[in-house]
C-alpha cells in the first residue's frame, strides 16, 4: 500500500501486575483506512487504543501516530487524534453544547471558530436540533454515544479512535453511525472496536483480531477467510428424507462432508456441507439429486464464512495454540 502510515505499532506490550494485557503486538494502519479492532473481552483492545490515545504507557515496544512517538510526544499525538473511550464518560451536569464547547476550547480550536466547529460536529451527529440544550444526565444512551462521537470529531483530527461506539444503540442509530463512519473513509484514519461483528464487517476495510493480549489475525475479510476458513459451505434446503440426498452424493462421489443439519420448520431441513472445491458449478450436485424420490430440494446456496465465523475460528485457534504451549 503506497499511502502513508498513520498508526504504527511495533512489538508493543503492556502488563498490569503480572498479567500481560497485550504482548508483542505489531501492526500498521494507513491513512484513510477504516480498521476494525476485534477480540473477546479482556483481549487487550481497549489497552491498545488507550496507549495509542496517549492515556496509558506501554511497557515495551514502540507506537507512533502520524510519525510522532506516543511515549515521547503524548500532547502532540492528542492533537492528531479524536478519541472516544469505552463507556464514553461524560460530565453529567453540563448541557451538550456547553460540553462540546469546553472540549473544543481544550482541543485548541481558535476562539473565532469555536461556535462554527461545535455546530459542525453537532450537525454531523444530528445533535443540534434534538439535544443541544439538553443536560447530559437526561440524555438516552444513544444520544450520549453521539455526544461522545461528536467530541471525537472536534477539530477534524487525522485519526479517530472509537472504542465500542455502537454499544447500547438501537438499529437505526447503529445505521446512522455506520453512515457517519463511511463518510470518513479516505479522509480520516478510523480505528474502531465493536462487539457487533456485522457492523465491523460492513464498515471496515481491514480487521485486526486480538485474543489473550496477542494479535491473532490481521487483514481484509477475504484474506482472513482464506487463512482461517479456507473451505466454503454449501447449504441445501430440503423437504423429506435427508439420508437419501446424502447417499446420492456419496454415490456420485461428490467431495461433500456434512457439517451441520438445521431444522428450519416442520419437515424442512437445511443441510450444510463442507466443500474444498471452490468452483461455483452446481451441475454435479443437480445431477446427483436428479433421481431423488423421497426428498425435495427447495434451495441450494453457497455460503461464504462471515466475520463472526472468522472471528470464532481465529480466537479458537489462538486458544488452542496457548493450550498446546
Amino acid at each position: 500500500m503506497d499511502k502513508p502510515v498513520s498508526i504504527s505499532v511495533n512489538n508493543l506490550s503492556r502488563r498490569f501486575g503480572k498479567v500481560w494485557a497485550i504482548k508483542n503486538i505489531s501492526f500498521d494502519i494507513h491513512k484513510g483506512e477504516i480498521v476494525g479492532f476485534l477480540g473477546p473481552n479482556g483481549a487487550g483492545k481497549s489497552t491498545t487504543m488507550r496507549i495509542l490515545g496517549g492515556l496509558q504507557n506501554g511497557h515495551t515496544g514502540f507506537a507512533s501516530v502520524c510519525g510522532l512517538s506516543v511515549a515521547e510526544n503524548s500532547i502532540g499525538i492528542k492533537r492528531k487524534i479524536g478519541f472516544m473511550q469505552e463507556n464514553n464518560p461524560l460530565p453529567e451536569e453540563l448541557r451538550v453544547s456547553e460540553y462540546l464547547k469546553l472540549r473544543a476550547e481544550l482541543k485548541e480550536i481558535p476562539a473565532s471558530k469555536l461556535s462554527e466547529e461545535v455546530r459542525r460536529v453537532m450537525d454531523l451527529c444530528d445533535l443540534f436540533r434534538t439535544a443541544r440544550r439538553k443536560i447530559v444526565r437526561t440524555l438516552s444512551k444513544g444520544f450520549k454515544q453521539r455526544v461522545g462521537i461528536a467530541d471525537a470529531l472536534i477539530g477534524n483530527p487525522d485519526i479517530i479512535i472509537l472504542d465500542e461506539p455502537t454499544i447500547g444503540l438501537d438499529p437505526h442509530q447503529i445505521q446512522g453511525i455506520r453512515t457517519l463512519i463511511d463518510s470518513l473513509r479516505g479522509t480520516h484514519t478510523v480505528l474502531i472496536s465493536s462487539h457487533i461483528l456485522s457492523e465491523i464487517e460492513k464498515s471496515c476495510d481491514r480487521v485486526i483480531i486480538l485474543n489473550n493480549g496477542r494479535l491473532v489475525a490481521m487483514g481484509t475479510k477475504s484474506e482472513l477467510r482464506e487463512s482461517f476458513i479456507p473451505e466454503n459451505q454449501l447449504s441445501i434446503t430440503i423437504k423429506g428424507d435427508s439420508n437419501e440426498l446424502i447417499h446420492s452424493f456419496e454415490s456420485a462421489q461428490l467431495k461433500l462432508e456434512l457439517a451441520d443439519t438445521i431444522d428450519v420448520e416442520d419437515g424442512i431441513q437445511e443441510l450444510r456441507f463442507k466443500r474444498t472445491n471452490k468452483t461455483q458449478d452446481m451441475s454435479p450436485i443437480l445431477k446427483a439429486s436428479y433421481s431423488l424420490n423421497n426428498c425435495q430440494i427447495l434451495g441450494i446456496n453457497f455460503i461464504k464464512p462471515d466475520l463472526e465465523s472468522i472471528f470464532l475460528a481465529a480466537t479458537k485457534r489462538s486458544w488452542e495454540d496457548v493450550r498446546s504451549k
Binding site: 500532547i75 460530565p91 476550547e105
Partner: protein
C-alpha cells in the same frame, strides 16, 4: 523570529486552556449542592463564632481583640470546609472516568490539577472574604456597647486574612492531594480531615509536648515551631509579615500539588 512567534502562540494556547479549565471548574463548584451546604454552614458557623466573641467582649474586657480571637479559630471551619470543597475534585472525576476524558485532550496534566486547586482556592477565599463583613456590621451596630474595643483594626484584619490566604493554599492542596488518592469522595474527605487535623493540631501539641522534654534551642524544637500554624497566626495577627511562613506554605503547597500530579501520572 518564527520560533519565538510559535512559542508565543503555544504560550497563549496553554494559558487559554488553563483559564478555560479554571472557569469550568468554578462553574462546576457553583452548580454543586455540597458547595452550597459548605458555604451556608461556614457562614452560619463563623457568624455564630463572631457573635459569641462579641458577646464575651461586651460582658468583660479581654486580652485579645475580637478579630484576633476570630482568626485564631480558623481551624474549626477549615476541618470541614476544605474536605467539602475538595473531596469531589479528583475523586469524583476518577470514579466517573471523566478525568480520563480530560486526559485525552492536548492539555498538560498539571493544568488539570492546577484548575482543581485554583477553583477550590477561589471559593475558599471568597467565603473567608465574606467574613470581613462581620467586623463592619459589628462596628456599625454595636459601636456604643463596644466603645473601648475597636472592631475595625485594619492591621489585624489584613494580617488575619493574609494568614487565611497563605495557609489556605496549603490546606486546599492537601484536600486536592487526598482527593487524588481515592475514587470515593467520602474517603477523600476523611483523609483530608485527618491530614489537616494532624497538621494543625498535631504540630501544636507536638510543640507543647517537646517544650518539656527538648531544649528550646534544639533544631527539632525550631522545626516544630516553624511548622506550627498557630505560631504563624500569632505573627500575622500582630501585623508581622515574616517571609518564612510564606516560603513554608508555598513550598508545602508545591509539594502536595506535585504529589497529586505524580499520583495521577503513576496511574497511566
Amino acid at each position: 523570529m518564527f520560533a519565538q512567534s510559535n512559542k508565543r502562540i503555544l504560550y497563549q494556547q496553554r494559558m487559554r486552556q488553563l483559564t478555560t479549565l479554571i472557569r469550568h471548574e468554578i462553574r462546576l463548584l457553583f452548580i454543586s449542592p455540597p458547595v452550597y451546604i459548605a458555604a451556608v454552614t461556614f457562614l452560619m458557623l463563623m457568624g455564630f463564632i463572631y457573635w459569641a466573641i462579641l458577646r464575651g467582649l461586651s460582658i468583660e474586657p479581654q486580652d485579645l481583640s475580637a478579630n484576633v480571637q476570630f482568626f485564631s479559630l480558623f481551624w474549626l471551619p477549615v476541618f470541614f470546609l476544605v474536605p467539602l470543597l475538595t473531596m469531589r475534585s479528583l475523586a469524583a472525576e476518577k470514579n466517573n472516568a471523566t478525568l480520563e476524558a480530560l486526559f485525552s485532550t492536548p492539555v498538560p496534566k498539571i493544568f488539570i490539577v492546577l484548575s482543581k486547586f485554583f477553583s477550590a482556592y477561589f471559593l475558599y477565599i471568597t467565603l473567608w472574604s465574606l467574613t470581613v463583613f462581620f467586623p463592619f456590621l459589628g462596628d456599625s451596630l454595636l459601636a456604643n456597647k463596644l466603645s473601648e474595643q475597636s472592631l475595625m483594626n485594619f492591621a489585624e484584619l489584613i494580617g488575619g486574612l493574609t494568614f487565611i490566604a497563605i495557609s489556605g493554599l496549603l490546606f486546599i492542596s492537601i484536600g486536592i492531594f487526598t482527593s487524588s488518592l481515592t475514587r470515593s469522595q467520602l474517603v477523600a474527605a476523611m483523609l483530608s480531615f485527618t491530614l489537616l487535623f494532624i497538621f494543625c493540631i498535631g504540630a501544636q501539641q507536638l510543640e507543647y509536648a517537646s517544650y518539656n522534654y527538648i531544649s528550646t534551642n534544639s533544631f527539632f524544637y525550631d522545626a516544630i515551631q516553624h511548622i506550627n500554624v498557630f505560631r504563624h497566626l500569632e505573627d500575622f495577627s500582630l501585623g508581622i509579615l515574616d517571609t518564612r511562613p510564606f516560603i513554608f506554605y508555598l513550598s508545602a503547597t508545591w509539594l502536595f500539588l506535585s504529589l497529586t500530579l505524580s499520583n495521577i501520572e503513576s496511574k497511566s
